[in-house]
Structures are given as structure tokens and as C-alpha cells.
């Protein structure tokens, strides 16, 4: 239990790993933890939604119709579909296929942008402003925060596309694509819960 003797040091050659044992990257773990905390924010907003609903005599409040479903249902499919080309692109770059990577990212980007466009359209046609009542506040805030996440995801997609086109991604090394793909799937998955809660559940009386 004394200080290390300064005269000698014992060195160890650490055995290198077998090819199969390589774990997830630091960036992958980072985005997983970020997704956990972001997901908790959405969980909090949806809990807020149902808390407000439970403490209101009528939901939506008198004079407000339950959200219309046809258009948003279509764009829900559009948003969820935008995950598929990401799977396809990621599998492609894992085999070194740059074309699949670029095409998949582009298609996914267009689908995501279409979803966001519809959301802006819907905001312009909502019959209530977010200060009208608590129902309006939580509706705007939840969909708005999700929309910001879509916007952020599109921005990241642009950067990853720029990297894809400048040839920075390879079969062995495409960590930013892995990070983006996880994040994008997360944004899509959250929408399933937002859609079910904010759009579908008011129709269940």
C-alpha cells in the first residue's frame, strides 16, 4: 500500500478484440441517452394532456370540435413511411452503396418535409389560437414541439446528405448516419403517440 515504485513499470499487452465483439459507438450511446430524455419530455406533455382532460368537464371544451382525421391520417402515413428509406439507406451504406444512401436520404427528406408542410397548413386552418383555453395550449405546444423536432431532423438530414454527397461516409464508417437514423426513427415513433393521443383519443367518448 505504498506509492508505485518509480523504478519499474509493468506493462501489459491487452489482447485485441475479435472482429465480432465491437460494440456501439460513443455517438450511438450519446443519441440513445438524448432520445431517452427527449422521450421523457413528450411523455410529460402527453401526461399533461390527459391530466387536463381528466380535470375538464368536457374535452375538447364546449364549442370546439374533435380534430378532423382524414388529412392528418394521410400525413401520418407519410411521416411513418419516411423511416423506411432510412432503413434502406443505412443497410445500403453498410454495404458501401453510396447511391442507396443518397437516394434513401433524399426520399425520406421529401416525405418529412411534406409532413411539416401539412402541419403548417393545419396550423393556418385551426379554429382556435393557443391562448384560447388549456385544450388549445396543450394541442399547439405538443404538436409544435414535435414539429420542431421534425425541423431539427430535416436539418440534420441535410448535413448527413451533404456528407453523403461529398463521400465522407463509408461502409465501415458512417456514424453520423447511424446517429441521424436513430433520431429520425425516434421522431416518427413519438408521432404515433402524439397522433393517438391528440387526434384519435378525443373521438373515444
Amino acid at each position: 500500500m505504498t506509492a508505485t515504485s518509480p523504478q519499474t513499470i509493468q506493462t501489459v499487452i491487452v489482447a485485441p478484440p475479435s472482429a465480432r465483439s465491437r460494440g456501439r459507438s460513443v455517438g450511438w450511446w450519446g443519441i440513445v441517452v438524448v432520445i431517452a430524455t427527449e422521450g421523457t419530455i413528450f411523455l410529460g406533455l402527453l401526461s399533461t394532456y390527459f391530466f387536463l382532460r381528466a380535470s375538464s368537464p368536457r374535452w375538447p371544451p364546449a364549442g370546439v370540435a374533435a380534430p378532423e382525421l382524414p388529412l392528418i391520417s394521410v400525413f401520418t402515413v407519410v411521416l411513418l413511411a419516411s423511416s423506411l428509406p432510412i432503413f434502406w439507406a443505412e443497410a445500403g451504406i453498410a454495404r458501401g452503396q453510396q447511391g442507396r444512401l443518397r437516394a434513401g436520404l433524399l426520399v425520406s427528406f421529401l416525405l418529412g418535409a411534406a409532413f411539416l408542410g401539412n402541419q403548417i397548413y393545419e396550423y393556418n386552418h385551426l379554429e382556435f389560437g393557443w391562448t384560447d383555453h388549456a385544450y388549445a395550449s396543450i394541442f399547439w405546444t405538443t404538436t409544435g414541439l414535435h414539429g420542431l423536432h421534425v425541423l431539427g431532423g430535416l436539418l440534420i438530414s441535410l448535413v448527413v446528405q451533404a456528407k453523403a454527397w461529398s463521400g465522407k461516409l463509408s461502409a465501415e464508417h458512417h456514424e453520423s448516419m447511424q446517429v441521424f437514423s436513430l433520431y429520425w426513427h425516434f421522431v416518427d415513433a413519438v408521432w404515433i403517440f402524439v397522433f393517438s393521443s391528440l387526434y384519435l383519443s378525443p373521438h373515444l367518448q
Binding site: M1, T2, A3, T4, Q7, T8, I9, Q10, T11, V12, I13, V14, A15, P16, P17, S21, R22, G23, R24, S25, V26, G27, W29, G30, V33, T37, E38, T40, I41, G44, L45, T48, F51, L52, S55, P61, W130, T131, D132, H133, A134, S137, W140, T141, G152, L155, I156, L158, V159, V160, A162, K163, K168, S170, H173, H174, E175, S176, V179, F180
Partner: protein, 636 residues
Amino acid sequence: MATTEVRPAAEEPEHLEEIWEDDPGVPGFFSTIDHKRIGKRYIYTCFVFFAVGGIMALVMRLQLAGSEHTVLSPSAYNELFTVHGTTMIFLFNTPVLAGFGNYLLPMMIGTRDMAFPRLNAFSYWIFVLAGIFFYSSFLVDSAPDGGWFAYTPLTDKAYSAGLNLDFWGLGVAFVGISTTVGAVNFIVTTFKMRAPGMSLNRLPIYVWSMLVFSFMVIFAVPAVTLAAGLLELDRLFGTAFFVPKAGGSTLLYQHLFWFWGHPEVYILFVPAAGMISMIIPVFSRRPLAGYLWVAASLVAIGFISFGVWVHHMFATGMPALALSFFAAVSLIIAIPSGVQFFAWIATMWHGTVRFTTPMLFALGFLLVFLLGGITGVMVAVLPFDWQATDSYFIVAHLHYVLNGAVVFPIFAALYFWLPKITGRMLNERLGHTSFWTMFIGFNLAFFPMHILGFLGMPRRIYTYSSGLGWDALNLVVTLGSFAFGLGVLLTIINMAVSHFRGARAPDNPWEADTLEWATSSPPPDYNFEAVPVVASRHPLWDQQPLPVADSGPDDATRAFGPAGAHEHTTPITGGLRAAPETTMRIPEPTILPFVFAAGLAVFVVGLLAQALVVGVAGLALGMVGLAWWVWRIGEH
């Protein structure tokens, strides 16, 4: 671990310093991403906030020393108790624990920096800018005055018209970013950067505690961000979340706030307990008793602490079933705390205790934590809580746990690790004097508050009439609080004296067992020229001499040895046994974390001033920062 060889130590690697050192002067100050410099800065900044918050408490105690004093106006008193509480929770306790984690955790697990060094710098700048933002409220005479938990409807725009509460709401949401990204960093660093051989069952208990701390932060902080964020939407933009006449709910605010607020108590306690579990064994000259039980207790506290928040709301008229559930969980959480307590006692029982200053603070912690824990069990009992709630009994309880059970460990940690951080010892005699002054002052200040609570003194009153039987006890409380303040001052003097005249600290002055003590005092910029190879829970006790790894030929093992240090890299390991995986290049110093933190601060100020342009500019900067980060993700 195929081969070992014993060979003479290499010459002192001076050119390594050149590879790792920061830019000199002011640019270096803003561009550093060294976890040790950031950790040190965290700790020192936090102590400034601790001193300011403490002075506020002393001014309040002057006001309350006797009946009907006029040191403070009622509104000034409201501002002081609000800012005191907010400072101690958000700007001292939480960040100082993150600061120690920043400094210690990478060295304890045998790596050269954190997993995201730039994010680490970003986290510090957010914290300090949030603190400055919060305190700038005094400059425009609008200090927050709605209590540290800022309950609605009092804090709605209708009843608190000024900017006061906006400084609180925006500041709290802002500083939450710092805590969260810090937690992300701790988790990934612990998962991916442990020295080879440091399996989970060899992880120092302090690292376990920081891991639990971080996971709790990840799942709890979003709730307070929502509480403060939705409050600010209500206040700034007129939404109706907490406005009952428009369908909102004031109770909702309390749920959101305490869903963070109660885990937060354990977010503070868990790393503090982790520090104690490092210090007591070293000064008992034996390993911690029940390592597995202590680690499991920390994890259990992490889980259970998410099921107790309603015990802050027992008096809000909720259904009996809900109250019973939360009361039961609040009792159950005492069990893992008790397990640790007995582990500490058993360690000392079977050891040979040395009464150094860090050990004294650890022992002081045991006593005040015992008392805070007992009153905690008391207020978990519903009928008792209904009597005691909002009285000075609660003030006493929360100070025993948040000041006693967190600040005493922080001081123990300061005396324990400061020689490693600064390379100079602290004066033991002054340390002992400081401890006894703080310990006696603490109990004189806070124990009588229990009795004042029983005598009916409510919390948050700016004065009281004589003849209620409160005068004498309040005077004792005031004297005790000044004694406590004097004790803190003695430690600050001790730190200052040590800085200039302290004896040189040896590498391992306490003959401790963990890897941070294998470095020089203070440690070199690169921490370890060659990364240690761990084969024990107590490497410096069991592995003599401590073996270090050599650089292998491939990407997975290249960073272990001196070659890795020369290339400004650190190894990435993984799996339960920390097997080698790849090499991480540590980024060069950069001012961008500071720039983006400043951009976010501009955004927050824009919200405060409701200046759309400023806000949008800040948000745009944030977006650019995000894009830049994704662009720079190293594809390797």
C-alpha cells in the same frame, strides 16, 4: 491480456505536455475542453454561488433573530428566500456534484477525458451563463420572489406581473440543459471509456453513484423543464396551462415540478453518498463492507425516488388511495438508505479509523443524515405531515438533508480530493476547527427549527410578534447559522492559504485505492501516459506495482499506451469487462461551445424581453450549432 513484462520506466515525457496543453491566456480560458479544468471551474464557480446564497441566508436570519425586526422589507425577504433556495439547488448543489464528477470520474476509470469533451465545456458555459442571467434580475430590481418552487397561481402573470418570475422560469429551464448534457456525458463516459479490466463489479462506488445520478437526471429534469417552460408560455405568451378559468390546472404544475423535485433530492444525495463510500473505507483502512449491497442500494434509490413525489402534495386534497401509495413508497425508500448507513458503520467497525478532516466531515454527515432521515420518515406519515407541512419543521428537515447530507459530503470531498486537484495539502488543524465550527453551528441553526415548527411557526414569514414563544429559539438559530457561516469561511481561508503556502501533496497522500491517485498531484493534462490495467476493485491496494497497458498494433489497442497519448487519443472500451474496441481522437480546444452557449443565452434574453428578432437569432445559432456538430461527428 496476453503478455506482461517488467521494464524500466521511461523518461518523464515533457513533450506530451505540449501536445495536450491549452492555448495560453484568455483564448485558452474560453477554448479549453480539458475535463479537469472544466471540473475545477465548476467547483470554484459553485462555491461562489454557495457563498452568495449563504450570505442571503445570514441576512434572513438577522431579520428573524428577534420579533418584528426591520432589516428587510417583506418583499425583499420574499426575494431573498426565493433566490437563496434556487441558488442552493440549481447553482450550487447540483452543479458542484457534476463538477466533482467532471474532475474525478475520467481519472477514476482510467481514461484521458470525457466522451464528449466539447459538450462538457458547453455544459459548463450554460451553467455559468444561466447563473449570471438569474442574478442579473437584481440589476433591474426584479429578483424572483415566488418561492423556489414557484407555485401557480401566485406565479401567474395575473398575480406576479413583473419580470421577477420570468428570470426564475427561464433560468431554471436554461440551467436544465447544462445538467442534462452533463448527464449524457457521464453515462457514455462510464459505459465506453473504462480502463481495460474495469468490469462493472470493479467500478468504484462513486462512479456507480454518478451513473445513477445521471440516469435520474435524464428522466427527471424534463419534468422541471416542462414545469418552468409551460409556466413561461403562460406568462410570456398567454397560454392557459395553469389558469383554472380557462381549463388549466394549478395542481398540474405541482405534479410536474415535484416529479423532478423529489428525484432531485436523491439526485443530490446519491453522489454525496458515493463520495462517502469512497472516503470512509480509505480512512478505515479496509474495503467498503457490502460493496454489492451499496451499489444495489444506489440503483434502488434511483428507481424508487420516482415514486415519492406526491409526498410534497399530501395537503392538496388528493384521493386517499393515492396518498397511501405515495406514503408507503416514501417509507420504503428509507430501506436502501439504511443499507448504506449500516455498510458505512460496518466498514468502520471492522477497520482502523483515522480521524482526518475528510473523515470528520464524513462522520458529521452520518449524524446529520441520520437525523434528516428520521424526520424524513416522520413526514412520510400522513397525519404527521398534515400537522407539520409548511411549518419550520419542514425547513429543518430539508436543511438536514440538503445542507447536512449533501454539503458535509461535499466538504469531505473537498478536503479529500483538493490535494489531488491543486497539488497542495490543506491544513489539518484549520480543517478540524472548520469542521467543528460548522458541525456545532449547523445543529444549533437547524435543530431548534424542528421545535419552532411544533410551536407553530410557519415557513416563509418575514417576521413574527413577540410573545409567541419563538424569540429565544430564533436567536439560537441565528447564532448557529453565523457559526456555520464562520466554519465555511475557515475552509475558504484554508483553501486560500493552501494555494499559496500549502505543503506539496504526494501522489497518494491518503493511501487510497482508486486510479485517480495513481496520477501525479496535480495530474498531467493527459491523466495517464499509459492507461492502467485493472484486475481488482482496489487497484492501488491490490496491484503493486500498478500495471499499465502498452500500445498494440491495431486500432482497438493503439490508444492504450504512450503512443495513444502522443496522438491525442484515448481508448474506447465496451462490454461488461471493458474490452478494447477502438480509438477516440480527443478534439482540439475550441471556443465554439462557448459561442453556442452564449447564443442560447441570447435566445433566453430575447424571450425575457419578448424580442422576436433576438430570440430567432439565438435559435438560428442553436440550429447552426446542431448542424456543425453532426458535420463534425468523426466517421471512425
